[in-house]
Symmetry: C2
Subunit: 334 residues, 2 copies
Amino acid sequence: MLLLTEADIRKLFSMEEALSVVETAFKDYALGNSKMPSKVYLNLPEFSGDFRAMPAYSFQHQIAGVKWVNSHSKNPQKGLPSVMALLILNDPATAVPLAILEGSFLTNMRTGAAGAVAAKYLAKKDASITAFVGSGQQAYYQALALLKIFKLTELRIFDTHAESKKTFSQKIKDSFNISIHDYRSLPSCLEGAHIVVTTTPSHTPLVLENWILPGTHINAIGADAPGKQELDANLVKKSRIVVDDLDQASHSGEINMPLKEHLISSSDIQGTLGDLILGKYSGRQVSSDITLFDSTGLAIQDIAAGAYIYKKAKKMGIGETISFWETPHIANIP
Amino acid sequence: MLLLTEADIRKLFSMEEALSVVETAFKDYALGNSKMPSKVYLNLPEFSGDFRAMPAYSFQHQIAGVKWVNSHSKNPQKGLPSVMALLILNDPATAVPLAILEGSFLTNMRTGAAGAVAAKYLAKKDASITAFVGSGQQAYYQALALLKIFKLTELRIFDTHAESKKTFSQKIKDSFNISIHDYRSLPSCLEGAHIVVTTTPSHTPLVLENWILPGTHINAIGADAPGKQELDANLVKKSRIVVDDLDQASHSGEINMPLKEHLISSSDIQGTLGDLILGKYSGRQVSSDITLFDSTGLAIQDIAAGAYIYKKAKKMGIGETISFWETPHIANIP
């Protein structure tokens, strides 16, 4: 089996590729071909952290696997990333393990790509001004992906962490010719933005109803656990809501709190991103609609991305080969 | 992080060690220190198989992790093992990945050890005759473990697969001086056995009520998925039932069918193996009791075994080191 490190995967997986793989993965899942049971949480509040096992089967790629990923909020204080992930891929027909991949870079890429795919279907085609609420690592990948889809001219940032803003701005400036504006006032940052991307770990609404103008598209990325929310429930209520997965978003996405507090009901949700891509319903109906993509991150995105990377690595001869078994018939399987 | 192959682990983990690690793991879990969410199944009936993600946190070892394991019943026809497993271990405090271990040998060992630990607490001390219903790979590990605990003089086998019986007998004969008897009649095989071990993948009861004499202890190992059962429900009903985990056994253990058919109720279950080890209740009360251990296999056994093996490997300098990350502070962590 193949071991693929972060360095290997950075060589193998561009944002263009991520956009294509993720869009297909959502479509494939919506067609009922791929499979994804609910992720399981190992909660360790004594360490301010949790682990998540996220299994899925990608029909298109004919690969099954699991992502094992954590979220430890106090890690940055120790000089460690809060999220680290590994991916195991198997042949679904025989279960023979095919590869172990570093999973953090891939997670960042597929999450960024999902946001941009959603915006492609929901935002106005001529969207040019994007506001980022939160400027951490995921904000960068959201920007990277949006820049592939839209002709963005202005990128706005609101964040209380000066260091994050600096890093984010520098990374964008290094690769793109776009004007970047730093805001101290969140309402001013949002006013006139065509696409708003929230990537904070907030547990209380930051973005209030009246700060978002008609016609805006919002990518709500931050909320990925029960209790988290970044948007005013009234704003959620009046938006056309698209989720990555209904169960998972209801449990841990942006809509989890408004649902729990009965401020919205499941009938307020338009549908899934997959069904939107399939054209089963139309996301934006009039120019003044506020559209909202609630992203929680699906195992099916990870396994599809991992499968794509694994197959490309095999073709290009990248990665270290290892066998965990002596038994010749297993050891010899690629 | 460390990569430990099957060959590495065979050098590092004896049955004596497995017995000690597993008994402590059950105790630790019963004390409420360790944590184990329900395992999650990725069912792929189109391939006659499934995958399971089994996460746990071992308090005693201060290690968290997940086992990713499959069960593909048609693999042997393809010359492949039906079960293959990998284990990822992490520091629970920071989630830094510590090791990836081959998981099949370790699973066989911890399952064998759990059966023998249960028999130590439930069977008569002077048990000497053991009957094996099913003689596949797990039967061998059950025998290996029982032989460490009991002075066995006679080992009986019932199996419809001649090849399995031959392999099993040969492996036992190679290492132990014990008389082995092959039975064509299951009732004759069972008559007078002090310990009965069932390790078949049966979905219908094989062992009937009247074939088991008073005083017998049964290790019911085979049933590990909904619909599976090896024992007559009346036999289960009249036994003193000990489970490895109440939820998991009710869902997929030997008791899953009798419970579902309302032939037994949860009040018929004495308790868990962990509580039995802690002395919270007594398993066998009179000499004529039939005792029954329903084993489904717990993630907590895997993580404890993996943690023990990992620490010993580090001490002995066994295993290959790899880093999935370039980032120096992660790459440098052992």
